[in-house]
């Protein structure tokens, strides 16, 4: 049970949030032009890293806003939190 700093509401308990999987997977603008494999890659393939992962989280029981989190999946340490559309931190 970790603590997430919502970029809109501040520090809150994990139980207020829901996880949304890997971040920065952009929905293709022209899906019809993709091959089955390319579309499947967007649709199904996720990295599921052990270590530092960029993830989407939703403050589901709060402001309902989506945002990004940089988390080490092996120890739940959170390195950064940033809004949708913002660039991920480089280090």
């Amino acid at each position: 049970m970790f603590i997430i700093t919502c970029p809109f509401c501040g520090e809150r308990d994990q139980s207020e949030f829901s996880a949304g999987g890997e971040a920065h997977i952009v929905r293709p603008k022209q899906p019809t032009e993709l091959s089955d494999d390319e579309w499947a890659d967007f649709l199904f393939m996720r990295k599921n890293i052990k270590g530092i992962q960029f993830e989407r989280w939703n403050h589901a029981h709060g402001c309902r806003k989506w945002f990004n989190v940089v988390r080490d999946t092996s120890n739940d340490k959170i390195y950064a939190v940033y809004k949708m559309g913002e660039k991920p931190p480089s280090n």
Partner: protein
Amino acid sequence: MSENFRSTETKFLDKTNRISFKYNGKKYYGYKGDTLASALLSNGVHLIGRSFKYHRPRGIMTCGSEEPNAIVQIGGNGPFTEPNVRATEQEIYEGLEASSQNCWPNVKFDVGGINNFISPVIPAGFYYKTFMWPKKLWYSLYEPAIRMSAGLGKSPTQPDPELYDHNYLHCDVLVVGGGISGIIAASISADNGNNTVLIDDKNSLGGSTIFQDDENFKIDDEISSVWLNNQIKNIKNKKNLIIKHRTSLAAYHSYNYLLARENLGDHKSLNERSNKLRQRLWKIRAKKVILATGSIERPLIFNNNDRPGVMLANSVKKYIDYFGVRCGNKNVIFTNNDSAYETAISLNKKGINVTIVDIRNYSSSILVKNAKNAGIKIYWNHTVVDTKGYRRIKSIQIMEMSNDGTNVIGSKINLVCDNLSISGGWTPMVHLFTQSGGKLKFRDSDQVFLPNIAMSDQISIGSCNGNFELDDIIKNTISDCKNFLSSSTTDFDLIKVSCPKQKENKNIWLLPNDKPLGKTKPFLDFQNDSTAKDIKLAMREGFRSIEHVKRYTTTGMGTDQGKLANMHALGIISETAGVKMGSLGTTTFRPPYTPLTFGTIVGRNVGTFFDITRKTPMHAWHENHKAKFENVGQWKRAWFYPKGNENMDQSVQRESKAARESAGILDASTLGKIDIKGTDASEFLNRVYTNAWSKLGIGKCRYGLMLNEDGMVYDDGVTTRLSENHYLMTTTTGGAANVLSKLEDYLQTEWPELDVWLTSVTDHFATASVCGPNSKNILKKLFPNIEFNDETFPHMSFKNAELDGIHCRIMRISFTGEHSYEINIESKYGKSLWEKCMDAGKEFNITPYGTETMHLLRAEKGFIIVGQDTDGTMTPIDLQMDWIVSKKKYDFIGKRSLYRSDTMREDRKQLVGLLTDNPSEILEEGAQIVQDEKKQPIEMLGHVTSSYFSPNLNKSIALAVVKNGKKLKGQKLLVPMKDKTIKVTVSDFIFFDSKNERLNA
């Protein structure tokens, strides 16, 4: 009258408060502050229970939460009964009833004791090896027999009448453990201005130092217990320190989130605790955590080391020094270290006969010198090779050891005793540290695992951090706390400590014996009856990983979770395999540290508070009219309204006939409603639904199908265009919350450029759906100002209206196939709207119908229910709903997936209708469908998704998903049931009014 073993005065018990309790039906007395164990020992009762597998007599071994043997059933036979309670932790109260477990007919004579004599044929893995064959005996013989002998205590059969609670606690510093190091840490922390919480699982603070009454242990020139007592008085007055007694830390999760169980009632009589909380679960979030959980003494592993009267040495010391109870009249202390000499000296001071057997050949400690000076006989370099006495230890046999410690030499010496106090050194309690994700290191010098790398802001201090001597404990605690809490000075900076130092160490995990291992019973896990030879057997059979050996031998899998056994299991494995102990790792320490009751875990969330119940504004009316309710998610929906003695079938047949023949009314308030506003609302709908929305006129309604990005049907519902940039979307009852969050996700992350705003208005509007040929006439009466003709108010359109001055939205839409209107009104007027509809419909015999009739009516029309006729693997094409999938739109959610090779397959499971050859036979929903019963293996083509007897068609109808179903129309298929096979014909799935004449009637 049995002998009184309460031999000395003690300041820790309230001797004016004598308490009676019952154990195995017999009345005994103890004092307030006694544990059940200390009270029983004071009455000379050692035999407490029978062991799990061999039913060997077992007694009290310890004085704390690590107790493997003395677990009892308390609270009699009624609802207050509780199994597997540790007698060493349970405080006695007036009227306490306790009894032995796992024995029949009683603990002194137990039939299961036969297992002890057949033990050579029931080794580790006995169950796995024996009950493999013949297969047919499993259900008739093996399983019932195993179930009968399984388990220790008896579960209560009645609901728990006691109250439990959950509460949150936030603090700067949490100190876990109220021993000397925890007290110093809490004191430093509070003085440094931190909001500090100190929790301890006992009823008073002080740990094991509080009964340390020896001139050799001094702090600031006072005996350690005297000094500590003053500190305890001191910290009770500190303003920013909260002390919680009888509070046991159950779990330590990441980010310093901890769960602790506070015991508020277990030590009180049933009268005192009625209507009061029994236990409270604290959910603690601490900025910093200081673990001072201490250590527990290790047993020694030798032949027959499990008899009643064999106890841990430090526990014997606590019983005499704290509770004033002697555990025997003739004591032998068997040790590999100096700490057990403290017990010997304590016993000797009280005039109790004591002898020492030490596996070492020398110790230079002052404690040893004192013991010698007191005239205590010490057998150096000796080990115990056997013990005698069935229900209580009577004597032991000792032998000298060879120099390398692997053998015994010379002749046996017999020592008569009624207590054997054993000490194999100390194990730091690192459970909580590892639960929090911390990594351990192994210290070779005294063979202990110690905290190494912590994953959160915490430190371990005192003996749980491997400091076993008073001066190390105090000095390291002070310096570690100063660093951890960034405090420059403390009250303890000038502290002076003196204590004896342990110098000689000798550790042998499995002590040598004159008999071969196979002829001995050296127990490791006393509760689960696993011995050193079980471990070796598992290794001979090829198990190497500690996790595997644990499960195969069940070592460490009892209610005590192997607090005593695990280190020895590791030690014996590493010795046998010839690997370094530190490289083996440990088994995983999982929460809870000590067992929690279900009551504590669920707290107040029982009965009606188990889950939220959502009721529509019309709920009271439904109740008054005897509706039966169905759970749909958290909603209570009216299921059917039985009249007189009608059963469900009869009600549904009547309701559905009435709806088609004249008028029916349904409470549709539970449907999800999402208010959509913004200049891009139309474009947004275009992207989320499969059909086109741009051209939907203001005041018109349209049915939409929503897919997942994988192309599978996700939700459906009718959306109404209320004005240029304002829509009202309806969703399925169960899908409302998920649809909203899915739409929010797309809006916020994929399409932030769209000007669209979503608001859930499910609870804001109540909806009455009036259907049937007379629905128009009823609406006319209610809304005289509205023109209800097909030109001005056609099917799939909407009008604003007023009912007695209250605004309503009327949608002419239909889920039944009948001419029908849905009237939406602000929730608080819902019941009134419903009653007005009923009044106006009276002359047309308006009939309220429930969800079951709704399901039947829509099935007649072949309308799907998402989640019943679909299961997340159905595309719109599979549902034969190609008509709703726009070919023109460039993109919508899930569109690309409809063109994947798998979704384009022609032989996917597809929605079809099924008609039974015998029209009165009704299929079972979920029944499998096959073509050829004889083919092996039989091929499942699909299953029935919806099935009813249609009163309007006077025959049975069903919807089903069938492989390649579109092409099977007209063909015969089979539905095999348990006792018969039903013949069916694949049909169109619209059974009724396929031309939609009634909708526009």
